[in-house]
């Protein structure tokens, strides 16, 4: 057991984990902007570089001093980067550390990373947001990380000037040590750490080295967390273990919208907690807790039959059709005159597309661990949460609300996520764990079994989209009209769509890059009792399937090559053409293919980046098709770690393929049909095509990389299929490829 020992005077502020399963050197992080190291493994004490002491927890305006929460230097030269982005596989811990290490500077192989806990000093922007979503982490924290590294460097240099007053100036920081003007090493960062911790923060923002001299940014550095992820020592949320902890499992009402009517007495040795729409049951281990939850004779209040039509796939599909033709839409975009443009057309398309609800299926199911402290009178005096979360600040707000504690007294540890995909931004599982923690008076880990994770997801919304296009004799677009019927993410999160519009649900259906003077994009909110949420590329995953499929239909109607047709409509858009051309070149677009094969292309900008995908399909002897190859080009501005950028694209392509080919979440009168992977296919090794990715560097602004690769996959596959077979698929999942072995 590795006990963490605090070395500062605010032990009560220090979050600690004591567990046989924890990595040996987890650093205790104070909530107030100062950091301290724990005991070293051998029992020696590390003194940390303590920067920016005792900052006010939440109310402070952002200042340059907030950067100093991010770097910890021990006297033994151990350097830990406290990285603010939520690590769910995208490599953001390493990426943000890489940016800090660029300016520090330090030997990359010596650093460790640790996820920041809840704390305003780790947030970005005026709201101190700690939310990881919308591919915003690198974009949002990049400038702050540069400042963090540079500020720490300046303080170490100041410490060296103070310690070695007669050393030839100017001093220079090089790879973990300070040198004098002649290049002679004066001291390591570790040797300077104690003095540096007494140096006042620089008054002015430090000078940054600038893109021209980057040594780490733009290089495929190895991720520090990978070593922990190949030997089982990485601690995901589900792996947290606390002394005296009990295990709890959740069972929700089988019908969406249902509530607990009655709960029988708790089985011997357990506690049962009524959570409103679910019950939680404790046990000596997760399995026992879940077995008890499953067998508990709970009775439920079910929604009325009419209410359940809003949670029924057939009912919702029918309602969407009615809304499409009878509801008054809100206007998302109106440019030019679509009626006149349509009148001028020589060819017209009128096509309707649909996409289903989708689950997240993160490999790590939802879980949350909570330790609540109460005084003798039962008043809550402390609350510490360990959660796989994309939003530690939202978790803190949830905990504060439920416990009555001020935010400053809530500790939230953001753990590694076994996938997040937008699901782990929600607060339902956190809320449940805190309620159970309050009820059972012991530390508790609450886990959802897979069936609960699927059944009570916040699903990617369904959509029905009707597109009418006018083309002139040359194939140019004279009018484009797109009417979207889809539930509102804003409303599902307690808001009201402004002017009847929901930007996330509409995605990239507006502001299309293609030449066209007459545009109309409309949105109709569909009432739905399905809980909908964020998902890897959410709205863009819907709009890109529709738009890029219809552009392909236009190309084929005009008798044009789909790639050249897009080139014509993107004329003058150098950045877009750069990416489109790179994907086409990578895929060998226009070169001969074996008989029975075809390619399809899609261009899909989003999240501040540009992406183009080419899919190559082959007909099989049984009449189904096989995905042979996916080629992708992406421009995300600065590729901080090109190897990880490629990894994100590979992952996005597989995520997009799973959804495009096989997946859908359906509901029968409120009862979710998907409860495990048996009815929610996920591709395996055997299903993975050859994937090639090229990074296009053309001086663009820094963009996101986690999601931009997803949206283009479905239309590229559908477009290839249309070229291959002559059949246009306008509904997802495409159902053109046999589902992974052993699954339905």
């Amino acid at each position: 057991m590795n006990k963490i020992v605090s070395t500062d005077l605010h032990a009560q502020d220090i979050s600690t984990i004591q567990s046989s399963a924890q990595p040996a050197e987890r650093i205790a992080v104070g909530r107030r902007g100062f950091l301290s190291a724990g005991a070293a493994i051998g029992g020696g004490l590390m003194i940390s570089l303590v920067l920016g002491k005792a900052r006010p927890a939440m109310a402070a305006a952002p200042t340059t001093s907030t950067v100093n929460a991010f770097i910890v230097i021990g006297t033994d030269n151990a350097i830990t980067m406290i990285t603010p982005g939520g690590e769910m596989g995208q490599g953001i811990n390493a990426g943000l550390a890489q940016v800090m290490a660029e300016e520090l500077p330090v030997d990359w192989t010596t650093i460790k990373t640790q996820q920041a806990p809840f704390g305003a000093q780790f947030g970005r922007g005026a709201t101190h947001s700690q939310v990881t979503g919308g591919s915003n982490s690198m974009r949002g924290w990049f400038p702050l990380m540069l400042q963090a590294g540079a500020t720490a460097r300046e303080m170490l240099l100041a410490a060296a000037r103070q310690t070695y007053p007669s050393a030839p100036q100017p001093l220079k920081a090089v790879a973990g040590a300070v040198q004098d003007a002649n290049g002679a090493k004066l001291a390591t960062y570790g040797q300077l750490a104690a003095v540096a911790s007494t140096i006042a923060l620089p008054a002015a923002a430090p000078i940054l080295s600038g893109p021209g001299s980057y040594k780490l940014i733009g290089t495929s550095m190895a991720r520090p967390d990978v070593k922990l992820k190949v030997n089982g020592s990485a601690v995901f949320g589900i792996d947290v273990r606390l002394p005296g902890m009990v295990y709890a499992a959740v069972r929700h009402c089988p019908t969406l919208g249902g509530t607990v009517k009655s709960v029988p007495a708790a089985p011997s040795g357990s506690q049962v907690v009524n959570l409103g729409n679910a019950v939680a049951v404790t046990g000596a281990n997760t399995w026992q807790a879940n077995s008890r939850a499953k067998s508990l004779a709970v009775t439920w209040n079910l929604p009325t039959a009419s209410a359940l039509t809003l949670a029924d796939s057939a009912g919702l599909a029918s309602a969407a059709q009615t809304l499409m033709t009878s509801a008054t839409p809100a206007i998302a975009e109106q440019i030019g005159d679509v009626t006149a443009g349509m009148a001028a057309a020589t060819k017209k398309l009128n096509v309707t597309y649909s996409v289903p609800y989708l689950a997240h299926a993160c490999m790590e199911v939802l879980n949350c661990t909570v330790s609540i402290k109460k005084d003798a009178s039962g008043t809550v005096t402390g609350c510490e949460v360990w959660a796989p979360t994309q939003a530690p600040d939202w978790v803190a707000a949830t905990a504060s609300k439920l416990t009555g504690l001020p935010l400053a007294q809530v500790i939230v540890n953001a753990m590694f996520m076994g996938g997040g995909l937008g699901r782990k931004i929600e607060q339902d599982y956190v809320t449940q764990a805190i309620k159970v923690g309050l009820a059972v008076n012991k530390p508790v880990k609450l886990t959802w079994f897979r069936e609960e994770d699927f059944g009570r997801d916040w699903f990617r919304p369904s959509a029905l989209s009707r597109v009418q296009v006018g083309l002139d004799a040359g194939g140019a677009i004279t009018a484009w009209s797109n009417r979207i019927v889809s539930p509102s993410l804003t409303r599902s999160h307690g808001g009201v769509p402004k002017n009847g519009l929901d930007g996330i649900s509409i995605g990239h259906a507006t502001a299309l890059p293609y030449a066209n003077a007459n545009r109309l994009v409309e949105y109709i909110e569909q009432p739905s009792a399905i809980q909908i949420g964020y998902w890897r590329s959410v709205g863009e995953s819907i709009s890109a399937f529709v738009v890029e499929s219809v552009i392909d239909e236009c190309a084929l109607a005009a008798g044009s090559d789909p790639y050249q047709y897009r080139r014509t409509l993107l004329a003058g858009n150098t950045a877009a053409l750069g990416v489109l051309d790179a994907a086409a070149t990578l895929a060998g677009w226009g070169t001969a293919l074996p008989a029975g094969q075809a390619r399809g292309i899609a261009f899909s900008p989003g999240f501040g980046s540009l992406c183009a995908i080419v899919a190559q399909l082959a007909l099989t002897a049984t009449g189904t098709v096989k995905v042979v190859r996916i080629s992708a080009a992406v421009d995300c501005g600065t590729a901080v770690n090109p190897g990880q950028v490629v990894g994100q694209m590979e992952g996005a392509i597989l995520h997009g393929m799973n959804a495009a080919l096989w997946q859908q979440a359906t509901f029968a009168k409120g009862v979710p049909a998907v409860r495990n992977f048996g009815s929610y296919p996920m591709g395996r090794m055997a299903d993975c095509p050859k994937i090639d990715v090229t990074i296009v560097s053309q001086g663009s602004t820094l963009g996101g990389i986690g999601e931009v690769g997803v949206p283009g996959v479905a239309p590229a596959l559908a477009n290839a299929y249309a070229t291959l077979t002559g059949t246009r698929k306008r509904s997802l999942p495409l159902g053109i490829v046999v589902a992974p072995k052993g699954e339905s």
């Binding site: 589900i238 490999m363 992977f677």
Partner: protein
């Protein structure tokens, strides 16, 4: 009491014999490297070796494991040394993991494959690895194996 031999160490566990091995490893022995993914033998995140053979621990009753030799990801190479099994080293070199959640099971499956087949074909790799990886690390899994076997 059931006697379990895990990673060379004997443990006495008092769990109900019908408890899946997975949960005994994780909750009773604190060996949390082995992961829960589906509980129904589909995703293979829980893969461990039982008497040297890769098995899904979510569907092995702990009672049936008494006296058998169990190897988990923590026992694949000495933890104190970091990660020194050839598959672990290859995984680091090729930077295979993303979220990493499925990789314990993936690595145990790959290491088992390579124990019995020094140079598997792509078809044999596909057939041996039924593990679900939602991050889509499959191209790197294949590339890392190819590098190890000199393909």
């Amino acid at each position: 009491m059931i006697t379990l031999k895990v990673n060379g160490t004997s443990y006495q566990v008092s769990s109900d014999p019908s408890t899946p091995l997975l949960w005994v490893l994780r909750d009773e022995l604190g060996l949390t490297g082995t992961k829960y993914g589906c509980g129904v033998e589909i995703c293979a995140a829980c893969t461990v070796w039982i008497d040297g053979s890769p098995e899904k621990s979510c569907d092995e009753n702990v009672g049936s494991c008494a006296g058998k030799s169990i190897t988990t990801i923590e026992g694949l190479s000495p933890l104190a040394g970091g990660a020194t099994h050839p598959v672990q080293l290859a995984w680091i070199e090729s930077q295979v993991p993303q979220c990493g959640y499925c990789q314990s099971g993936m690595i145990m499956a790959v290491a088992a494959l390579l124990k019995g087949n020094k140079k598997p074909t792509d078809a044999q790799i596909d057939s041996a690895l039924s593990n679900i990886c939602a991050c889509g690390t499959y191209p790197r899994v294949r590339a890392a194996i190819h590098k190890m076997i000199g393909v």
